[in-house]
Assembly symmetry: C2
Homo-oligomer: 309 residues x 2
């Protein structure tokens, strides 16, 4: 079953304690599509770039099975650009530059042959654009997932609440969950947020793993314990991409399969942070991925039938 | 196989955002023994109290299979007393009062019939006392585990390094691991700390679960996601007690069984924080425990055989 991703395709300039980059390829939809392509060979993308965006990257996406008909190229305009600097702890960062450019008036047009897509991943974008996309799909996808960020909670809270009513799964980090729910306990937050719309909620906790909530069920996925994160940019999107790639490829939205998808997402994200930008996602093989998933199995699984003492 | 616990048996006065207690029973060895008794019916304890310590609690320990011959009762002296206040986030606390009393000159005498104990748990104490205990055991236990805290790293670092050379397993929290290793990455810290002596290391991360390191193997145990922690006092000791109770009762120190012991410890600790002091540990039944362990199984386990896409 195919996966449609909507989100930014852009340029980033990143500075971490380990070094800095010039303008490199970034954007939520780029990371999501690359990550999902590890599992899913039939993808579509809706995004917008300027004429400064390299055809080479578009070709790369196509080679990974991404239909790019929905990628608008605006002649005479520039792609979205973000520049940021991570602090020493890698958990916080300062945004140095945000140039919206083509994103400012992004109208997410859905090509006709995208209709009928079963899985939809809404990358971090203006809530209104996310809502528009859902409205333009003639048939409701089997699973609609979305990402968002604190920025939209600050400046477009009401719009965000409207979008939340329309989605099945929200994927956010712990800070965002606390801000959205206005409580500090993540378990309490998970109930408050699911009352806003999404039946499923994933809370990402960085090095502490991720939590999946649905009804009265909870699953805890570990993060891979690593010596150091080289560049966290795109880790959240790689997680979402791996998750949705796995879910859409297996076409099974049971809780048990979502657990596996969470591990697939965690494994994909664990590669992303090993190098700058999308570099690592582009070079890992299926064998690398299989080994990494096996590491997660050993990391988290145990067999225990407790006998009364 | 029997378990010997050495540590404080004491009084605490606790204040949390949910309320405060008068002087209640506390102490590392108290929590450890109560927690271990959920799994292990053959325990011994080496500790010291004053004549102010209630016989009722000693009886309770005995009723749970704890041989208290090694519990010294100092006539005319007072038991160790600690008073602390937790901040709103429950992760930090201020110590309000520390009265060492009988602990000041604690000489950990080992009764003859304690010799030959296969499992030793050294609760948080002066490193010198911990070293003394090991020296007084004529036969080396099958597994020696110890807890410690940042306080000893500050004032008795060299002594602590000597003790670390003698133990198999160190159980500490993430902050302590960072202070002891002087690095921030827990994976790097785990290597540095294991180079100091212990072949096994458990790093507790509170609400984020716990990590077990041995050779090149890592296991990640989740914490039970809960709405709120009522009182964190004793959670670390309950974890250690549950772990050592399980390990000693099953008498199997393989990595696979240590995984199960980590879950046993996590389950036991998850009860401890539900009420003030030792109250919850005293009232839970074997059925409660069995259900809780099953919750951990559902929380962490997944079945995944990844097929190449």
């Amino acid at each position: 079953m195919s996966l449609l991703t909507v989100g930014s395709v852009a340029f980033d300039a990143i500075e971490t304690p380990f070094g800095k980059t010039d303008k490199i390829i970034g954007g939520a939809a780029t990371y999501i599509s690359l990550a999902a392509s590890m599992y899913q060979k039939e993808q579509k993308i809706v995004a917008v770039v300027g004429d400064d965006f390299p055809q080479e990257m578009i070709n790369k996406l196509q080679n990974r099975g991404v239909d790019t008909e929905g990628l608008q190229i605006k002649q005479g305009e520039k792609s979205f650009f973000w520049s940021g600097k991570y602090h020493n702890d890698m958990n916080t960062r300062d945004t140095l530059i945000t140039e919206l450019n083509v994103l400012e008036n992004f109208d997410p047009l859905i090509p006709d042959n995208y209709q009928g897509t079963e899985y939809l991943m809404l990358g971090n974008l203006t809530p209104k654009v996310q809502t528009t996309v859902i409205g333009r799909l003639k048939q409701r996808p089997k699973l609609i997932a979305m990402d968002t960020m604190n920025f939209w909670m600050d400046i477009a809270y009401d719009d965000l609440r409207e979008t939340l009513k329309l989605v099945d799964l929200l994927i956010i980090n712990d800070e965002e969950a606390r801000q959205l729910s206005k409580v500090s306990s993540l378990v309490t937050a998970s109930r408050i947020i699911r009352d806003m719309g999404p039946k499923y909620l994933i809370i990402k906790k960085g090095e502490h793993g991720a939590l999946l909530f649905h009804e009265d069920k909870i699953f805890v996925a570990p993060a891979l314990p690593i010596e150091e994160v080289f560049d966290p940019t795109g880790a959240g999107d790689s997680f979402a991409g791996g998750f949705m790639g796995y879910i859409s490829q297996t076409n099974d939205i049971s809780f048990e399969n979502m657990k596996r998808a969470l591990i697939a997402g965690s494994a994909t994200a664990s590669f992303c942070v090993e190098k700058f930008g999308t570099q690592r996602l582009e070079e890992i093989s299926q064998e690398d991925l299989q080994k990494r998933i096996q590491q997660f199995v050993e990391l988290a699984n145990f067999e225990m039938t407790y006998q009364l003492a």
